[in-house]
């Protein structure tokens, strides 16, 4: 196992921020940590990274307890709100990080070029952090997390504050590196996590409440038969009630529920006939425009199905 968290607890004063967390992450596709503000995600990141000491429990990386000098370079982190020293150029600081990780002066020079190119910041390497925009500084901080050959990279709100183009390039970067590095991402952007992550740990009030696999269509709260499937339909305008009724009356449809404005979750029985084709024919026949048909439940619906209307 790449990362094991065993009975981890942390309190600030009398407030329990993490309560006996147990989780395991095997090497592989990116992992998401999801939860509302104050759920304990950043505290968990901080303890794994060694910024905070846990009250009890332990964190193991490749079966070795963290933090440990032997693991320097194996684990990399984009800490939330951390800034580089404003007195030195990003080039000088990243080269210093490389040297600390055991690279020679020449290797450091090449490594800094490599990681800055990955985040499209090579042209700014001689600038000091305060000469860069917030988004640029964030990209440099992501670059420092990619120095060397880390096995595990923790990114806390990696794309928050980035413009859409660079947020997309960071997502592409994570997707491209996902074969070599295991990423653990924390974000409030569920669409982003859905695109990137297969495995999702859900936190609430300091507890790990459940684990989801994005690619599994199963419903956590119901015992479903193997033939029950879901489609999520997003339309351009809200469907009139009569069309919703007609949808419900279609062959194999079990239920149609409105999950949010213009979004319908269709539960149907899988048979030999492809249901998605039938749905498209239905929409075309009634001249109803759709924005998106999503195979299964969206991550958002999986997480918040109990709050659905």
């Amino acid at each position: 196992m790449l990362l094991s968290v065993e009975n981890l607890s942390k309190s600030f004063g009398d407030k329990g921020v993490l309560k006996s967390i147990n989780m395991e992450v095997a090497p592989g596709p990116p992992v998401a940590l999801i939860g509302p503000n104050g759920a304990g995600k950043t505290t968990l990141f901080s303890i794994i990274a060694g910024f905070l000491n846990a009250d009890s429990g332990k964190v193991l990386l490749n079966n070795s307890k963290l933090p440990s000098p032997a693991q320097f370079g194996q684990i990399a982190v984009l800490p939330q709100d951390a800034q580089l020293d404003p007195r030195f150029s990003i080039d000088k600081q990243l080269r210093f990080f490389c040297r600390l990780q055991g690279l020679s002066a020449r290797q450091s020079e090449q490594e800094v070029s490599r990681v800055l190119e990955l985040v499209d910041m090579a042209a700014e390497r001689k600038k000091k952090p305060q000469q860069l925009s917030h988004g640029m500084r964030k990209r440099v901080c992501i670059a420092q997390a990619l120095i060397g050959e880390p096995r595990l990279v923790l990114l806390d709100e990696a794309t928050a504050g980035l413009d859409p183009i660079h947020a997309r390039s960071i997502r592409e970067l994570i997707a491209n590196l996902a074969g070599e590095v295991t990423f653990i991402l924390s974000s409030h952007d569920l669409a982003e996590l859905e695109r990137l992550c297969e495995r999702v740990f859900v936190f609430s009030d300091g507890k790990l409440t459940h684990y989801l696999n994005v690619n599994e269509a199963s419903d956590n709260n119901k015992v479903l038969s193997k033939t029950t499937e879901f489609l999520t339909l997003r339309t351009r305008i809200p469907l009139p009630e009569q069309y919703v009724s007609e949808l419900e009356a279609m062959a194999n449809v079990q239920t149609v529920s409105l999950t949010q404005n213009r979004e319908y979750l269709i539960e149907y029985t899988k048979t030999g006939d492809p249901f998605d084709i039938s749905l498209l024919q239905f929409l075309h026949g009634h001249r109803l425009e759709y924005q998106q048909i999503y195979n299964g439940k969206t991550l958002e619906n999986k997480l918040f199905q109990n709050e659905m209307p």
């Binding site: 060694g50 320097f72 800490p79 709100d81 020293d85 007195r87 030195f88």
Partner: protein, 270 residues
């Protein structure tokens, strides 16, 4: 502990101070100040010390005040340099070493460092870097005063060089525990200004508390002042300390301050 990483930190700390704009301004101010002190005060005072009319009156008084070891020095310039340096370098060390860890902690930069080095390596590296900065400042001024001694040409060169070496080590051992004490304060302060305020506040409070205890409760608790750096400053100025007092106490103080700093730093959240 990786010696290599600790040395990388000390080198970076040295550069951080001396090669930054703030450090360069400090260095220029320092050079200007010492130029003034050497030319206007040390040089003129040395002339005065060489006149027999003055020495016949003042030497017995200095001897009475415990400065007889200084009177024996062959270069009078160095006597005045020693007094000015003993006043200025402890203060310089306080101000120069006020930001060893605190701003990096407050800014979050420390998080990038602890992913790549142990907290002990960071602490020791930064401390050594500050010692190097102070050593560099002391060396610069000693070199300048040596030039002045040679220029005046009334003392033997070899004796002056030997004396300068002795003065250098005495000044260095004076500032080292102060820097270690500043390292300790850095582990719980959040800015360099706060560190400086804490330093003077702690010194003042400890002196007042021990003074009150000695006056009203228990006599002979003056040794408790050894928890502070540079506590026997006057005796050090007179060169009146034993070998243990001169070298042993500052080294023990330094080790203890750094040990406490490490304990506090290791358990603090970043």
């Amino acid at each position: 502990m990786s010696i290599n990483r600790a040395l990388l930190f000390s080198r970076f700390e040295f550069n951080r101070f001396l090669l930054s704009k703030r450090g360069l301004i400090a260095l220029v101010c320092y050079l200007l100040l010492w130029s003034f002190l050497l030319i206007e005060i040390v040089s003129r005072s040395a002339d005065l010390l060489r006149s027999s009319a003055f020495t016949d009156v003042i030497y017995p008084l200095l001897g009475e005040a415990g400065f007889e070891k200084l009177i024996e020095w062959s270069a009078p310039e160095l006597v005045f340099y020693w007094v000015v340096a003993m006043l200025s370098f402890p203060l310089l060390a306080v101000f120069a070493s006020a930001d060893q860890l605190c701003s990096d902690k407050a800014r979050g930069t420390m998080r990038f460092l602890t992913l790549r080095a142990t907290r002990f390596e960071i602490l020791v590296g930064r401390f050594l870097g500050q010692v190097c900065i102070s050593a560099c400042f002391i060396l610069l001024s000693i070199f300048a005063v040596l030039v002045l001694v040679i220029y005046n040409g009334e003392s033997s060169l070899s004796a002056s060089v030997m004396l300068c070496g002795k003065v250098f080590f005495h000044l260095l051992i004076t500032v080292v525990p102060i820097i270690a004490f500043m390292t300790l304060i850095n582990t719980f302060s959040t800015s360099s200004k706060q560190t400086i305020v804490y330093f003077f506040l702690i010194i003042l409070l400890v002196y007042i508390t021990i003074g009150l205890i000695e006056t009203y409760l228990i006599s002979n608790v003056g040794h408790a002042l050894l928890i502070l750096p540079n506590v026997n400053w006057t005796a050090r100025l007179q060169l009146g300390l034993s070998e243990f007092g001169t070298w042993g106490i500052p080294i023990i103080q330094t080790v203890i301050f750094l040990a406490f700093a490490q304990v506090q730093f290791a358990r603090s959240a970043l």
